[in-house]
């Protein structure tokens, strides 16, 4: 099982991660952060492969990714 962490105060709610995640595990939430943005939330989910695509695409470097197995990244 892999996981990601979204820094909710850094997230600007652009949504790029939501379309990039091959498993569509991320969506924009309904709460605003201190900057007034609706931030992204990760649906903690076993499906996450830790592929890090979400991290790569995030313009605000708001995502960190942990991978469980020693699989090589895409």
């Amino acid at each position: 099982m892999s996981k990601i962490e979204i820094d909710q105060e850094r997230c600007k709610g652009c949504g790029l991660c939501t379309i990039a995640c091959p498993k569509t595990l991320i969506k924009i939430g309904e709460e605003i952060n201190r900057q007034g943005y609706f931030y992204a939330i990760w649906e903690a989910n076993e499906q996450c492969t830790g592929c890090a695509i979400c991290g790569e695409i995030c313009p605000d470097v708001a995502i960190r990714v942990w991978r469980d197995r020693g699989e090589s990244r895409t």
């Binding site: 605003i32 201190r34 900057q35 007034g36 609706f38």
Partner: protein
């Protein structure tokens, strides 16, 4: 600047992108329509992106000297950095209007001014137009201060908004009204 003459000034401040400039523009235009002298002075951060933005509006029955205001009668602050910057400057017994969606009212400190909090983002979101938080704030602020007539604000929308956005005028009016109503409904 005698007390028998009308003279009032406001600073509106927030993040770039929160639409604080439109608030100032609408206030100034509305006052002009009502026959007042006005100045509107915007201050941006770096060329355009990021940082904070604020504007100053002076409304007077006389010709206006300085558009720069050292000690405003009122400050409408939309985020925390603006609160920190402008709270200390407000004239004694002036008005501090805070957006409590992004600022905790407990973050204010002055005792000699009136502090008035409205959760404008929440109100806007609740009414299905999260992008019109600034109009909610304007409506609430003007309801509170009665600076200009609401109708002058509505009429000003057409002058202030770019033609591209004229189709949004009705929803802007609605947001202003919602802001005003929120204040009216306060105990």
């Amino acid at each position: 600047m005698n007390s028998d003459r009308f003279y009032y000034n406001i600073i509106v401040a927030g993040f770039g992108g929160q639409g604080v400039m439109v608030i100032g523009n609408l206030l100034a235009n509305a006052a002009m329509i009502e026959g007042k002298y006005v100045t509107y002075l915007p201050v941006y951060g770096v060329e355009m992106r990021g940082g904070t933005a604020n504007c100053t509006v002076v409304i007077s029955s006389q010709q206006i000297g300085s558009p720069v205001v050292g000690k405003p009668h009122a400050a409408l602050v939309m985020n925390l950095p603006s609160l920190i910057k402008y709270e200390p400057l407000i004239l004694p017994s002036g008005l501090l209007f805070i957006n409590s969606s992004l600022i905790e009212p407990k973050e204010t400190y002055r005792k000699d001014i009136e502090i008035f909090s409205v959760p404008v983002n929440e109100i806007a979101i609740d009414n299905g137009s999260p992008k019109l938080a600034n109009m909610v704030a304007l409506g609430a602020f003007n309801q509170k201060t009665k600076l200009v007539q609401m109708n002058s604000l509505f009429v000003s929308l057409e002058k202030v908004l770019d033609e591209r956005y004229h189709h949004l005028i009705p929803s802007n009016i609605k947001a202003i009204e919602i802001g005003a109503k929120f204040v009216q409904s306060l105990p």
